[in-house]
Amino acid sequence: MKKSYIFGIIVIAAAIMMIVSTAGDASSYVTFKDAHDMAVEGNDNKIHVVGQLKKNTAGEIVGLHPSDDKLSFTFLMVDENGMEQEVFYNEPMPADFKRSEQVVVIGGFQQGMFVADKILMKCPSKYQEETVI
């Protein structure tokens, strides 16, 4: 048994551990329904939900409520299956939040309310929305 073989085995073992750990720690994109079911089962892993802000027929955002001290806010989000859910975020409203065409919230359910630890926004690329005049 040469040293280099032992060394190789250790490296491969480390690599496999990393792959397993990545697979284990990887979150997943789910819907609000799945997220809710997970919370009911007591699984408190953080998950990603992709969706959009709820808008009325006139295209205005509805259900956006900053707290009195403006340090946190709640909003209504519609996931890809069309399910609507109130989301709470304990940070001041991000700057371009109202303009985002897609939102990813990372967090989990706590007592019927989806609490986001982090919000990722996909803003419209400035080429699509705008026109020159």
Partner: protein
């Protein structure tokens, strides 16, 4: 009037550069393959000429595009979407590489220069190395070709006219329509770091090609050993430049973005770090090879991998595959197929060439002893590669998802929810391992050690390390075991390398690069550890305001922002903070309060509302003042419990084109820690104010009354013969009221006017956003000497602020400089080695 010529020229240059690169490939190939020296010379001459033409064409592209941007030709899509008239010169330069096409161009440009350097400095290797260069240049040129054949698009041209790029109705009416102004450069990028960070980073990327090209050349020529000597100084240069480039990005993020650090584990950041880690590993194996003829195969694999990693990073960042997982990947230009071909071509060439030659690569069969320097260095290189691998795995999740989906599967993996924690739990132990290895490895490197000697030479550094660490751990009150180990390991590498350094400097200072670089690493690790693990949010909200009306959410949230109202002092830990209002920065430095200025059509020109005294000069009413209108600064006065006073000016930018408010921190730098402050939310200064319903009240001189909760007094009413610098005409009659508002710690003056012209009354109100007041003289009753004022109010000015203490972050920046200096020493040494051999006619 549309300037089509310059764009056509630019486009022609792109085509020339592409074709010339293709012809160069052929020329250099023939030059390499010709057995007869005379013929080889001829082909080489051809190659030089075609490469020169290619280079000239690339300069032509750069000049054309620059001309379009700097002359504000907004009929071109690239200029329109990346720059605007109000941009200062340095940002005109950075708008050049804001888009993908521009950054490809930057890469092309560096490669041209590097290719010239290779042609000038190297005879023997030039044909084979230049062939790799020509292939890369052909690929890069094709990325900006902008040729469309049917549905098939090759490259995205920076010379597209706006009317061809977008489908706006105006162009049907007037095809020659040119927009007045561009949409501007992303305000976040309006920072001097963004003028230098991209060129440096791309020079780093470009230089990774050189060691790669040498290794490929070596495999191709079957000169398996000779390529290491010329490649090594370039690999060192590349590592230094790429490292500095990456850290500049980190420093920019620290200064400009508000995620409160210098590293966010964003896929785009990771994609640049991984090649660097593998590059540093390859330098170590190359050095080992030069010393003792071992690790040649490892060097070849690693050197090839570095460039392939750069291509993989390019693919990830530019193909749109990262879509949801990265904040700042480029928008997809539909080049993903092209990028994939680029990556796969080089991957296949590398693998095939290495596999075919594998049997012929010399390798040593002797068993490596644990007490040999090769063993330690190899361990270090392995660890660096594992670090890279661990970062690459989760970063590639989106790629993996796309791959599964392209085969019809379903994959909904998302990156780890808490990225920082996820990466830290691995990288921290790797870093500890690196620190220990780089301390110990150096001893083995400089002294051939036997078992008995190890103890003697390491005893002293270990004792010193433990002493220093103990002092740090006790004074810092550290309890976390992992952090304690990290401190000990970092101190150890600094101490051990310092000992080596003093020994080498006496004999030959040229050899001290390695010891210096490793000391830099130790300092960086300490800086990273303390600034991230011990950073403290000090802006904890203790106002006790209700967080949310929802009963369902547990209210154990830790609120890390505090609201500050204008002139209303708030305690924050050991500090008392007072928000003093919104300011603009003037062109000549210094700040001027926004409420003293009136807007004009140009956002960078403001008109003085009333006399301002500034250091040594007086600004009079009606004067124009040049300010950086896109940047709103919020002055916050800090008073520390021990009497220290200072002001910070965190910044916010409002840019409707880019969406909303973007805040950047201001940082109070002290030697031992930084105080990092940014606004999380501010009332949008560009929005119209919603004033309350007007209330009227009748007041007389000297009478005190309340205005939006402030004590206010009507001081006097005077007849004036001019309003805001404009003389009155004919029988006009005007009076100016002076109303004094006693704000907290600052008094405000409001001057509404009342004008009588042709028996009509005109009212000119005055307003102040800070105290949220708008005042009008409604009517004058001369018989009772009273005035009826109409008052409208709004929310007082406020900001929501976050403040964090980051201890010892300076060690990270100092360590970076030390590391770079060490690289510099090593480059100097290795290049002189190569140069000596060249002088002997061996290269």
């Amino acid at each position: 009037m549309i300037h089509t010529t310059i764009g056509d020229m630019g486009h022609l240059f792109v085509i020339i550069s592409f074709v010339a690169a293709l012809i160069s490939i052929f020329n250099f190939y023939k030059a390499e393959k010709s057995p007869i020296p005379e013929v080889q010379k001829g082909w080489m001459k051809n190659g030089q000429i075609t490469y020169l033409i290619h280079g000239a064409a690339v300069f032509g592209i750069v000049i054309s595009l620059f001309t379009i941007i700097s002359n504000h030709y907004y009929e071109y899509f690239y200029a329109w979407s990346h720059s605007s008239r109000a941009l200062p010169v340095e940002y005109i330069i950075s708008s050049f590489w804001e888009g993908q096409e521009g950054s490809f161009l930057l890469w092309l440009f560096w490669n041209v220069l590097l290719g010239f350097v290779i042609l000038l400095t190297n005879k023997k290797w030039a044909p084979s190395v230049m062939m790799s260069f020509a292939v890369v240049q052909a690929f890069l040129s094709s990325m900006i070709l902008g040729v469309v054949i049917g549905d098939f698009k090759i490259g995205s041209s920076p010379f597209i006219l706006l009317r061809d790029a977008m489908d706006a109705p105006i162009f049907n009416v007037n095809p020659d329509y040119v927009p007045e102004d561009g949409t501007g450069l992303n305000p976040l990028l309006q920072n001097y770091w963004m003028v230098i960070h991209p060129p440096v980073l791309f020079l780093g990327y470009a230089t990774t090609l050189i060691p790669f090209a040498y290794a490929i050349g070596g495999l191709w020529k079957k000169d398996f050993k000779g390529w290491v000597r010329p490649a090594l100084p370039w690999a060192l240069f590349s590592a230094a430049i790429l490292g500095v480039g990456i850290l500049m990005g980190g420093y920019w993020a620290y200064e400009t973005l508000n995620f409160e650090g210098f590293w966010n584990w964003d896929p785009v950041e990771n994609a640049s770090l991984v090649p660097w880690l593998v590059l540093v590993a390859s330098i170590h194996t190359m050095i080992t090879y030069k010393k003792s003829e071992t690790a040649l195969k490892a060097s070849i694999i690693l050197v090839l991998s570095v460039f392939l990693m750069v291509l993989y990073a390019t693919f990830m960042v530019r193909s749109g595959v990262l879509g949801e997982s990265s904040v700042h990947s480029f928008t997809d230009l539909g080049l993903s197929g092209q990028l994939l071909i680029y990556l796969l071509s080089f991957l296949i060439i590398s693998i095939v060439l290495a596999a075919v030659r594998w049997k012929h690569i010399p390798s040593t069969e002797k068993e490596v002893s644990t007490y040999s320097r090769e063993f330690w260095i190899f361990m270090g290189a392995t660890l660096l590669c594992l670090m890279g691998f661990q970062i690459l795995l989760p970063t590639s999740i989106p790629v993996y998802n796309s791959l599964i989906q392209s085969f019809g599967g379903i994959s909904n993996l998302a990156p780890p929810a808490d990225q920082v924690e996820f990466y830290t739990k691995w990288q921290m132990w790797f870093a500890i391992g690196l620190a220990i290895l780089s301390g110990t490895g150096q001893f083995f490197w400089w002294q051939k050690m036997k078992k008995s000697e190890v103890k003697d030479s390491l005893l002293m550094p270990i004792l010193v390390t433990l002493l220093i660490s103990a002092i740090i751990i006790v004074t810092g009150g550290m309890t976390n075991i992992a952090y304690i180990i990290m401190v000990v390991a970092s101190i150890y590498t600094i101490v051990a390398n310092a000992k080596i350094f003093f020994k080498i400097v006496k004999s030959n200072y040229k050899l001290s690069g390695g010891a210096i670089a490793h000391m830099g690493l130790g300092l960086m690790l300490l800086g990273i550890l303390f600034s991230s693990a011990y950073s403290r949010t000090i802006s904890l909200n203790e106002t006790g305001l209700l967080l949310t009306n929802s009963e369902e959410v547990e209210d154990n949230f830790n609120q890390e922002n505090i609201p500050l109202f204008i002139n209303d002092p708030q305690t924050m830990g050991e500090y008392t903070l007072t928000y003093k209002g919104r300011f603009f920065e003037t062109y000549d430095g210094g700040y001027v309060k926004a409420s003293y200025l009136n807007d004009t059509d140009d956002e960078n020109s403001k008109v003085i509302k009333r006399k301002i005294q500034r250091d040594g000069e007086t600004l009079n009413t009606g004067d124009t003042l040049k300010v950086y209108g896109a940047n709103h600064y919020y002055k916050v006065d800090y008073l520390h419990a021990d009497g220290e006073k200072f002001s910070l000016f965190p910044r916010a930018q409002i840019n409707a084109d880019m969406g909303g408010l973007i805040s950047s921190p201001d940082i109070r730098r002290k030697f031992s820690k930084d105080l990092y402050t940014h606004v999380s939310s501010v009332p949008d200064p560009t929005q119209e104010i919603e004033w309350s319903e007007a209330k009227t009240m009748e007041v007389t001189f000297g009478e005190k009354f309340f205005l939006n909760d402030f004590v206010t007094v009507l001081e006097d009413v005077k007849r004036v013969d001019e309003i805001d610098g404009e003389k009155l005409k004919g029988n006009d009659l005007a009076v100016k009221a002076t109303v004094k508002v006693y704000g907290d710690g600052q008094d405000y003056i409001l001057n509404p006017y009342y004008l009588i012209r042709d028996n009509m009354a005109g009212k000119i109100p005055d307003e102040n956003r800070e105290i949220g007041v708008k005042l009008n003289i409604e009517s004058i009753q001369p018989e009772s000497n009273t005035f009826t004022l109409s008052i409208q109010t709004t929310q007082k000015d406020y900001i929501i602020l976050k403040a964090i203490e980051k201890p010892l972050i300076n060690l990270l920046w100092i360590g970076t400089l030390v590391l770079t200096f060490g690289f510099g020493m090593a480059i100097f040494r290795r290049y002189s080695e190569f140069y000596k051999m060249k002088r002997k006619g061996l290269e």
